[in-house]
């Protein structure tokens, strides 16, 4: 009897491993195709399509892309909005979260309601567009890319639910010792909240890095295009990929337009993928905190 059960268990374990392995490959596969495609010789790409084992490798696509001012400009814009945006967003959200989570806040209920409502009901995209472009006149500035995404209710509430788990006594003790609000926040709350601040900060950074919608809506000036928007233009338009190759880049006879698209994609996701192994545990922690209180 015992013998039979463990045989069934072995089958089950084997199934579990196979399932996870297959799903992992399924997740990985498109990236592999992209990366290999970006190194494949253009003529082979056109003749044989994308393969996992190209016969002829080539660096032409990267050579072309790395000479492109458009892409470097996109990088500059994206790095700027990611750094400035994520830091200010984190700062604003942490302060708001602290204030909202604090039991002494006599306006806690109205404040919470004020921040909750936008999650439930919004004016929609048209009034938003009119407010940003007609009232605030933010279109075609870099600030439209930063300001419109500064505060996400969901991430604020991750912070609120974390701050609430910190024992009140800690704060009270500091207060009795004569610490004022700013001191309590900066010297007690911030240091013990590092894991949640890291994960919320990373979520904000990711939002900024991956954004293209605000750019699409409010920016026509190519100098202000973030990376993702440059990439988007190449999805919809092959010519845009050709334009990315500077005339000075005298390479091959056929301009590697397919390769350029892939190389750009790889370069766009690159920094995230490189950071990812280090950051993953924070994301998982942040998500778990979020899951405890939806």
């Amino acid at each position: 009897m015992r013998q039979k059960q463990s045989a069934a268990d072995r089958t089950f374990t084997a199934f579990a491993h196979t399932f996870i392995l297959l799903f992992t490959l399924f997740c990985l596969f498109p990236f592999l195709l992209m990366i290999i495609g970006s190194f494949t010789d253009e003529e082979e790409l056109i003749a044989h399509g994308y393969t996992l084992f190209p016969q002829k490798l080539s660096l032409d696509a990267y050579k072309a892309v790395l000479q492109s001012d458009v892409l470097f400009n996109g990088y500059a814009v994206t790095i700027f909005i990611t750094v400035v945006g994520a830091l200010s967003a984190l700062c604003i959200s942490a302060m708001l979260g602290y204030s909202l989570a604090n039991k002494r806040n006599v306006l806690q209920t109205p404040f919470l309601f004020f921040c909750y409502l936008p999650m439930l009901f919004s004016g929609g995209i048209i009034p938003f567009y009119i407010v940003v472009s007609q009232w605030l006149h933010l279109q075609n500035t870099i600030w439209v890319l930063v300001l419109t995404m500064l505060c996400q209710p969901f991430l604020v509430f991750l912070l609120v639910s974390f701050f609430r788990t910190i024992p009140e006594e800690l704060e009270e003790a500091a207060r009795i010792d004569g610490a004022n609000e700013m001191r309590v926040f900066f010297q007690i709350m911030i240091p013990i909240s590092k894991p949640i601040l890291a994960s919320v900060g990373l979520f904000y950074a990711l939002n900024y890095w991956n954004d293209w919608f605000m750019g699409l809506m409010f920016v026509d000036n190519e100098k202000l295009f973030p990376l993702q928007l440059i990439l988007r233009r190449m999805v919809s338009n092959m010519e845009a990929a050709k334009n990315l190759i500077p005339a000075s880049a005298a390479i091959a006879v056929t301009p590697p337009t397919y390769g350029v698209r892939m190389a750009t994609t790889v370069l766009t996701i690159g920094p995230i993928v490189l950071l990812y192994p280090m950051l993953q545990k924070y994301f998982v922690k942040g998500l778990t905190v979020g899951a405890v209180k939806g």
Binding site: F12, I92, L96, P118, F121, V131, L136, R232, V284, G294
Partner: protein
Amino acid sequence: MQYQLNASKRSKLKHIVQNPFLYAMAVPGLLFFLVFSYFPIYGIMIAFKDYNFAKGITGSDWVGFKNFDYFFTSDDFWVILRNTLVLNILFILFTTVAAILIALMFNEIRNKYFKRISQSLIFLPYFMSWIVVGMIVQSLFGGEEPMINTWLQYIGLEPVNWMFESKLWPYILTVIRVWQGAGYLSIIFLAAITGISEDLYEAARIDGASKLQIVLRITLPLLVPTIMIMTLLAVGKIFNGDFAMIYAIIGDNSMLYPTTDVIDTFVFRSMRQLHDFGMSSAVGLFQSIMGLIFVITANWVTRRVSKESALF
């Protein structure tokens, strides 16, 4: 201490004056919501107006429900409503099932390295922007010689002109959605599984239960509340939130609108291409109200299931 939650107005004011920083810290965040969330809510009145750029929101002429009439009686209404619902139901159903399977199977894996590496890779697509996903999809299905067709021919099947076959796209989008989102959701389920008491497992093992039995009789039933909550939250958001995905993948390919055009993309297009601000905001308002009804209903149901998990 003089601060009490049910204090009178005067003592509340006193508390605010005496603790200016506690309240000042909330100000930047509150301002953000005021400007970028509440001002647009005020702008909803555009839905009832014949919006004119020169006259502005307040200055434009009222037209009553004309914008709504125009939308509700058009053929587009039923198409985009159906697409929004069908796509979301497909997404929620398949992503949830995949995530449950991943979480359950993952829990069986003991090899640390295999576990760590596969978890990282399963989670990876979630970090990609939809534009990157769109680019990948474009390479697989688009162009003169789609990659998928090369493979189909390789195994002896007929090539398909993907960009014209609108019937196939709900399935393709569902696969993409599972690829992108199942890993993320499975982390939440895994967190819930970790919370299950070890005693239960031990008792089952002593009773001679097989691994499969343990999964089916202990892990899965105890996971049900979390599954319900995540599903209800997703159902609450059924009316909005797919814009980024669908627009990045489908773009302006009108051949695929019959099955892929959803409320979000419809609103965006009527704004950008038709410049019909009145009707687009009417559609947006319809979407917001339906969304609100769904969220409140979902929350009400969630509270029945598990009180702590409800949103409000």
